[in-house]
């Protein structure tokens, strides 16, 4: 019987099925960070349980740390204690940790793929809703809560009902000047923030397979923003090329064996999907969010729609106006959505030999130490600094307002991140989500704009 890719992975990992009960689903690997793991360690310790296989876990530090140069000095006492506790827990349970200055510290969803841990057909979990990022490799990767992490610690499995599967087929070619970020924001705007609840999305279409791995990660990363449990792309030659020679990747004969398995991970002809969405992107313009959730977003030439007065009040904008031209005080490039080397290259190219607007503060935050090192090799840090922006140390930074990097109340930030919820980047902050290119063009101008500025202003 023909199966879609999610069914294939599910059936291979399903340990036990009983009607009326959730399935017991085996988990291949779990990534952890400081914010959602401490209580999970407590839970297993209280029950005298041990970690089933510490080699199937990897920890990093990302959410709570400062991104200034002297980031070892953590002024927030509770954040400092949280990080210390992660180190202690990892040491105690034998879990490897990508600590500061290990060359591999970074945002959990940047680190996993760049180490070659994320591989096709795996089940991978993390106490973080953007775990779907790893779906770019054809892995079934999803966010879990702290209790579920304790389950994985103790048993290497989770309890879960088999998800429904939604196919999102992108038709047409992605136009110049638009990116995976615009594709996913377009989908979210179309189907809404609860549009894929209960589903895993498979992204299909030539435009998806034309994307680089890093762009695919951006695409899958925001699956949760339309409510999806996970999002994935069937692996292809681009996937295999990316994985080859990475630290945790198989080599030699093992790589050949892996390839045989990975190549089987595609949806069969005539397989069943619970829902199919088709989106034509051949005329897509850069997407920018205007409101207080990622669904409230428009293409750059469009006007803000009527209807959500609470959101408009919060963001201090009016319906029927364009976003283009709205003054900004902050520009942020980074996060698990857009903190990879290709994102930084795009930004640096736009900023090269130019200066950002004097009343804009711009942070460029590499997603990991590897990204930072590569950017420095290419001189991107110098380009960014010469333009008047700050090139900072790796971490989640200004994405979520839980470390030193916050947008002050009442100020407006154009950001490559994933959520524009009320207060997300700091209490009272206003966020506009966009691609790295749109953020860079806006930082130069001092107001929201894109490379299509002249035609949009008319």
């Amino acid at each position: 019987m023909s199966q879609n890719i999610v069914e294939k992975i599910w059936h291979q990992h399903r340990v036990h099925h009983q009607d009326g009960f959730p399935d017991v689903l085996g988990i291949d690997f779990a990534l952890l960070h400081e914010v959602t793991s401490a209580q999970a360690f407590d839970m297993i310790e209280q029950r005298n349980l041990s970690i089933h296989d510490p080699t199937k876990f990897l920890a990093t530090i990302d959410h709570s740390i400062p991104t200034r140069i002297n980031r070892h000095e953590i002024h927030d006492k509770t954040a400092k204690a949280q990080i210390e506790l992660l180190r202690k827990n990892c040491a105690k349970h034998g879990i490897p940790i990508c600590d500061l200055d290990s060359n591999h510290q970074g945002i959990v969803h940047v680190v996993g793929p760049e180490l070659g841990i994320t591989q096709p057909g795996m089940t991978l979990v993390c106490g973080d809703s953007h775990t779907a990022t790893h779906g770019a490799f054809g892995a079934l990767a999803f966010g879990i809560g702290t209790s579920t992490l304790a389950h994985v610690f103790a048993t290497g499995a989770v309890l879960m009902n088999q998800p429904r599967v939604m196919r999102v087929n992108f038709k047409g070619e992605l136009p110049e000047g638009t990116y995976a970020k615009d594709m996913i924001m377009h989908l979210i705007a179309e189907i809404g923030i609860g549009g894929a609840t209960g589903h895993v999305i498979e992204y299909t279409g030539a435009a998806v397979h034309a994307l680089s791995m890093e762009q695919r990660m951006t695409l899958c990363n925001m699956s949760i923003e339309c409510g999806a449990i996970a999002g994935l792309v069937a692996p292809d030659q681009t996937t295999f090329n990316y994985i080859k020679n990475r630290l945790y990747a198989p080599d030699g004969e093992q790589f050949s064996q892996a390839l045989v398995h990975w190549q089987s991970l595609c949806s069969d002809d005539g397989c069943h999907y619970d829902q199919v969405i088709e989106l034509n992107i051949s005329k897509l313009k850069p997407m920018i969010s205007w409101g207080t959730n990622p669904q409230q977003a428009i293409q750059s030439h469009q006007v803000i729609p009527d209807g959500s007065s609470a959101a408009l009040d919060y963001v201090k904008l009016n319906a029927n106006q364009k976003l283009i031209g709205t003054a900004i005080q902050w520009a942020f490039v980074g996060s698990c959505t857009n903190g990879r080397i290709e994102d930084l290259r795009i930004v640096a190219e736009i900023l090269r030999n130019k200066k950002i607007a004097t009343d804009v503060t711009m942070y460029v935050v590499p997603g990991s130490e590897q990204v930072m090192i590569q950017a420095q090799k290419e001189g991107l840090d110098e380009v960014v600094t010469a333009a008047g922006a700050e090139f900072r140390m790796p971490g989640c930074s200004m994405c979520l307002g839980m470390n030193d990097d916050k947008v002050p109340a009442g100020e407006r930030c154009i950001s490559t991140t994933n959520r524009n919820f009320i207060g997300r980047q700091g209490t009272g902050s206003i966020t506009h989500l966009a691609s790295p290119a749109t953020v860079a063009y806006s930082a130069l101008a001092g107001f929201i704009c894109t490379q299509f500025m002249t035609e949009e202003a008319s």
């Binding site: 959602t36 005298n48 490897p96 048993t155």
Partner: protein, 204 residues
């Protein structure tokens, strides 16, 4: 080894009508409070961004102070995976949430903490909200019968049979998983590990 919790059959109490759609986890508990490493201490910050600056907001009103049931709009709990959102709501004294739909990760987290999520049709949610605004509405939730009852209505809801078993018997989900531990190990050896190609231990 199993920590036996008390089973729960009914939830009885007042109901707070907070009819806002898409209540996200950053609204429930802002990220700046997530540096704590305990499971408590979140209630005081819960919904702070809605409570601040609006004295009339439902969660600021005295009449709802001892309510056990939170009534909300569509897509409750969307956003992050932070279980802190569930802990914060429970710390406010809520034992159940009624809404027309819930986000997936939030639902999973709620189940594991015994917070009961009840999905009702939007019309029924509106009707309960109206009544809870006009009078001191007392709800009785029967977890065995899967019903929500007041003096003038009774609604059935869908309850996952496994969750129903867990909550009514005080049974922890992890015990079910642990009862399958040998199956899990065997399945990993026989099938999963055959197609897992991670080469361990290089990075740190």
């Amino acid at each position: 080894m199993s920590i036996q919790k008390q089973g729960k059959i009914t939830i009885q109490g007042g109901c707070v009508p907070m009819m806002i759609d898409d209540i996200d986890t950053d609204i429930i508990i802002p990220a700046q409070h997530l540096t704590q490493t305990s499971k408590s201490g979140y209630g005081q910050h819960a919904f702070a961004r809605l409570k601040q600056g609006d004295a009339d907001f439902v969660l600021n009103q005295k009449r709802y102070q001892n309510a056990k049931v939170l009534l909300a709009g569509d897509n409750f709990g969307c956003g992050s995976s932070r279980e802190h959102a569930v802990w914060a709501i429970q710390e406010l004294g809520f034992e159940a949430i009624i809404a027309s739909s819930f986000a997936d990760i939030f639902s999973n987290n709620a189940r594991k903490n015994g917070l009961v999520l009840i999905a009702l049709a939007p019309d029924n949610c509106q009707r309960i909200a109206k009544q809870a605004t006009q009078e001191n509405l007392h709800l009785a939730i029967d977890l065995k019968q899967a019903t929500v009852t007041a003096t003038n209505f009774k609604y059935d809801f869908n309850i996952n049979p496994f969750f129903q078993h867990c909550i009514t018997h005080g049974y922890d989900e992890i015990d079910y998983l642990l009862s399958h531990i040998e199956n899990i190990k065997a399945h990993k050896t026989a099938i999963m590990n055959q197609s897992l190609f991670i080469q361990p231990g290089h990075a740190t």
